[in-house]
Symmetry: C2
Subunit: 278 residues, 2 copies
Amino acid sequence: MTIEHLSSNKSFGGWHKRYSHPSEVLNCNMQFAIYLPPQASEGQAVPVVYWLSGLTCTDENFMQKAGAHRIAAELGIAIVAPDTSPRGDQVANDDGYDLGQGAGFYVNATEAPWNRHYRMYDYVLTELPALIENLFPVSNKRSLAGHSMGGHGALVLALRNPDRYQSVSAFSPISRPTDCPWGEKAFSAYLGDDRSHWEAYDASLLMSGATAFVPALVDQGSADDFLAEQLKPEALVSAAKESGYPLHLNMRDGYDHSYYFIASFIEDHLRFHAAHLV
Amino acid sequence: MTIEHLSSNKSFGGWHKRYSHPSEVLNCNMQFAIYLPPQASEGQAVPVVYWLSGLTCTDENFMQKAGAHRIAAELGIAIVAPDTSPRGDQVANDDGYDLGQGAGFYVNATEAPWNRHYRMYDYVLTELPALIENLFPVSNKRSLAGHSMGGHGALVLALRNPDRYQSVSAFSPISRPTDCPWGEKAFSAYLGDDRSHWEAYDASLLMSGATAFVPALVDQGSADDFLAEQLKPEALVSAAKESGYPLHLNMRDGYDHSYYFIASFIEDHLRFHAAHLV
């Protein structure tokens, strides 16, 4: 495994670094970013929050816009931000911003042409953590967080793998992808027309039947343009009631779908994760 | 004067807003961003920090990447970020990133074709504050801050107008523009070949002869690729010694020229300004 170092920036006493590596799971080269807090340079094995971004994003958006390094440096947490899909000229794509490159939806595609590369579920669940835990001074304590499509991904990964993660949080997640336009478009393409195959990637369906729990925090802005049609957090609330899931959901008055919303509440999310990553 | 509202995002309990307006000084339409802290919605006239960005930036870079809203919300300070030059198809431009649109250098150009639009010094000094103080619930207490080319602009404006500003700060400023490639290229174009006309825009020259003082804070990263050839903070230190100027300059080990550096220390800068804006 060759890994290429792309750049380093000192940030809040720690380091923001970007790398490129060949992914066996995704069958292409992938970039990711990691924030290593100062404690990682002092011989501590720090826990890791994996941040899953939303549609159109890369590894860069969260690192540049969320203002998370300050709190990660204080708490001694590393943050890893993968890209949102496989990438490259040889990777299938679509003209829409909500399908193809930049829109992997954190699933393992079963349908051609997507099934050659689009296996973001396995990439985030196993290949990327193995790489991170091999290369950097981190522990095997992991949490998940994400935004929008990435909030969906974080919730699904945690709900299906409660033994792998200490906690999960999401901003503005696509809570019911089997019943919204973004989800139906992506799942039809990646998973095919048989909707029963979609259920393994629907956070609300998974949560309603859950028997093993990962503490979950969700923040949703009330002025989010995508709230009613695409995000549907009420489905998560209903599901949590059914199964007794430890979900805490905050509706935030006046906030929208942007990184200004994420920045406003990322401190709460990282402190929530830190409490479970000890 | 018509002003067009472009967008609003709630952020840390306050509002990030973008506007477009026709500028008489610049003879074109201009965009700017303002962060209004929560106190501005509660009937307080809040003071304003004007942030001047560096080469290639617009009003957006600082607002998205600096993580400043959190601290401005706590301190009750508005932040205004203008664009870095006049803009538009009718505005003179250059293929280089360091001349023309995105590179106004906060001067009043005297040479054709630049002198039709490039009057960023007057725009930041008078037209923009008049607009801001007319439209928003702000006081006439003003401070200046900026990065790189914008650090140069902030220092020059404060040094030449000590009665207008309470404090000034800069990250990685172009400290000696009459003696570095960026400055010599821009000043030759905008101000002509007579170097005596450049001196009114050189922070180190102005500081060495200053008799009225604005408290000044500068942060500079030691790993900044532009440090030795373009930035030359040692010229500022020498100038401050000559005139007894109240300059505090921090060299920051390992930090570079990026917004990760700015984000790491913006809290110090805003607290410095807040102490002088009371």
